[in-house]
Symmetry: C2
Subunit: 291 residues, 2 copies
C-alpha cells in the first residue's frame, strides 16, 4: 500500500539518503520539505525539484505542518534534535529514520518522546559509495531491502505507515525485525564483511599483488574502500553485536586452520559442501527475483 497522498513529509538532513528519499517522494507527487544546516544543499534540492520548501533552521511552520518526519542524520544528532525541537511538532506526527544500527539510540528516543508523537525505526539497506545531496539517486532503492524495526512502544498503524513509506520509495522487499535481531543481522551481513575486507587489505603488504589479483580477491575487497568516519561510528554503536559476530567467525576460521594443519581433508570437504549448498540458496533467490 502506498502512502496517503495528502501527507506532508519533512526530511531532516539532506545528504545522499535524505535527498534520495526526497527525490523519490516528490516524483510521486508528495509534498516534501527539508531542514539542513547546509544552505547549498537546500538551494540545490529546491533548484532541482527534490523538495518544495526547505530551511537551514528547523522553523516552526515547517515542523508543525509535518505529518511524517524522516531523520536522515547520524544517531548522535538525532536524539538531541528531538529533545530540542519535539515541542514544535504537530500532535500525532510520526517520526522515522534511516540509521543502520538501532538498539544504541532507539529506546532512548522513544523514552524521551512526547507521548502524542511516535517514533518508528526503519533501515533502508541501500547506499552509494559517494555522498551528498547532489549524488541523490532514488533508483538505489529498487533492488534493496527495507527493514522496519518496531519496539513494544509502537502501534500497528505507525508500523503500517512505515511499511507504506518503504513501498512508496520502491524497495524490493519490506520486512521487519526487532532491534536486537536487526543489529545482530547487520553485525553479520554488513559489518563483519566490511571488517573482513579491511582486514584482507591490511594484513599483508599487498601493493605488489595488483599484478596477480583475480576476481576472487577483487570481489572480497571491493568494500574495503570505506568512509572511515561513518563506518567507525557505526561499528562502535553496534559494538557488542559486531564483537559477537567476529568471535563466531574467528572460532570457525580457527577450526578450518586446524583442519588444514592436521590434513583433515574430509573435514574441509564437509565444510565446503555446507558452504556450497548454503550459497546456492542465494543464487536461487536471485534467479527468482530476476524472473
Amino acid at each position: 500500500m502506498k502512502l496517503d497522498q495528502n501527507l506532508n513529509i519533512l526530511i531532516v538532513g539532506l545528504g545522499l539518503m535524505g535527498g534520495s528519499y526526497a527525490a523519490a517522494l516528490t516524483k510521486q507527487g508528495y509534498r516534501v520539505s527539508a531542514v539542513d544546516p547546509d544552505a547549498d544543499a537546500i538551494a540545490w534540492a529546491k533548484d532541482n525539484g527534490l523538495i518544495a520548501v526547505g530551511a537551514t533552521e528547523p522553523e516552526t511552520e515547517l515542523l508543525y505542518n509535518a505529518d511524517l518526519v524522516v531523520f536522515a542524520v547520524y544517531p548522535h544528532i538525532l536524539l538531541p534534535w528531538i529533545e530540542q525541537h519535539q515541542k514544535e511538532l504537530m500532535p500525532g506526527a510520526v517520526l522515522t529514520d534511516v540509521t543502520g544500527v538501532k538498539s544504541c539510540f532507539l529506546y532512548d528516543v522513544q523514552a524521551k518522546l512526547r507521548p502524542d508523537l511516535e517514533f518508528i525505526a526503519a533501515h533502508p539497506m541501500a547506499g552509494r559509495e559517494v555522498s551528498g545531496v547532489k549524488n541523490s539517486d532514488p533508483s538505489i532503492f529498487c533492488d534493496a531491502n527495507y527493514i522496519v524495526v518496531p519496539t513494544d512502544a509502537n502501534t500497528f498503524s505507525a508500523i503500517q505507515l512505515c511499511k507504506s513509506l518503504g513501498e512508496t520509495l520502491g524497495f524490493k522487499r519490506i520486512s521487519s525485525l526487532p532491534p536486537k535481531a536487526h543489529d545482530e543481522m547487520i553485525g553479520f551481513v554488513s559489518q563483519l564483511t566490511h571488517m573482513i575486507a579491511v582486514c584482507l587489505m591490511t594484513c599483508s603488504k599487498s601493493e605488489h599483488l595488483v599484478d596477480y589479483t583475480g576476481d576472487s580477491f577483487r570481489d572480497l575487497t571491493r568494500i574495503a574502500r570505506i568512509n572511515e568516519d561513518m563506518w567507525s561510528e557505526l561499528f562502535l554503536l553496534n559494538k557488542e553485536a559486531l564483537l559477537q559476530q567476529m568471535e563466531k567467525f574467528s572460532a570457525e576460521f580457527d577450526l578450518l586452520y586446524r583442519m588444514l594443519k592436521e590434513e583433515d581433508a574430509e573435514g574441509l570437504k564437509e565444510k565446503m559442501r555446507r558452504s556450497t549448498s548454503r550459497r546456492a540458496l542465494f543464487d536461487t533467490e536471485k534467479k527468482e527475483n530476476a524472473l
Copy 2:
C-alpha cells in the same frame, strides 16, 4: 611473441583447462593432439574441432611427435605420468603445466626428468565454475593473468617459449615468479579468500539471512560455491603457505577485534584509511586496463 606455427602441441588431460588450451591453439592454426583416458572427451574434442588427433592411451607416435607437451592434470597424476612415459618423448621436447600450486611437485619433476627434456611450470589464472571439456572456453584467458614459474633448472629459451604460449593463448598479462613466491601469492589472493568465503557461510546459521543480504555479503561469498575435491587437494598441497597466510589474517583480525573492544576509533580509522588507499590502486589499475 607468438609460438612458432610449426610446433606440434600435445595436451595431456582434456578437461576444462586442457580443452580451452586446445580450442585456443587449434583456432590459431596450431596442430594440437590430446591424450585422455576418457574416450567421450576425446571424441567430443575431435568432433568439435578442438584437436586434430587424440587417444585414450599415451601412444608412442603422439608422444614422439610433440614439441611441446602441456599437462592439464592434477599434480598427483603428473609425476607418475612423466616417470612412466618420458622415455617415449622426443629429445628436446619442452613440457609445461597448468597447476595452481608449484613447490609441492615441481622440484621432484625436474629432478626426475631426462636431461634432454625440460619442464617449465606455468599457472594460467583462469577458470570457470563448471568443469569438463564440453565447457571449454578460450575466452576465459582474455582478462586473466598467466604466470611462468621458472627454477634454476630452466633455460632462457624454454622460459621464452612458455611466455609465448601464454601470449598465443591470449592472456592479458604475462609475468613470472619463483615457485615459493608464487605459492605464497596464491595462498593469499586465491586460497585465503576461498577459506574466508567458506568460513562466512559456515560460521553462522545463515540460511534465514537470504532475506537481508546486500551486495557486500553476496560479493564476499560468491566463491563459497566450491568444488570440494579440487580445492581441498589444492589447499593441502600448499599447506604451509596457506597456513602462514591464515595466521597473518588471524593476527590482523584479532587486532581489529581488540581495537573495537577498546573503542579505539582512531586505530580503526587508520586501518580503514590504509585499506581504502590500497584498494584504490586496484581500481586505478582496472581503469587503465579498460582504456
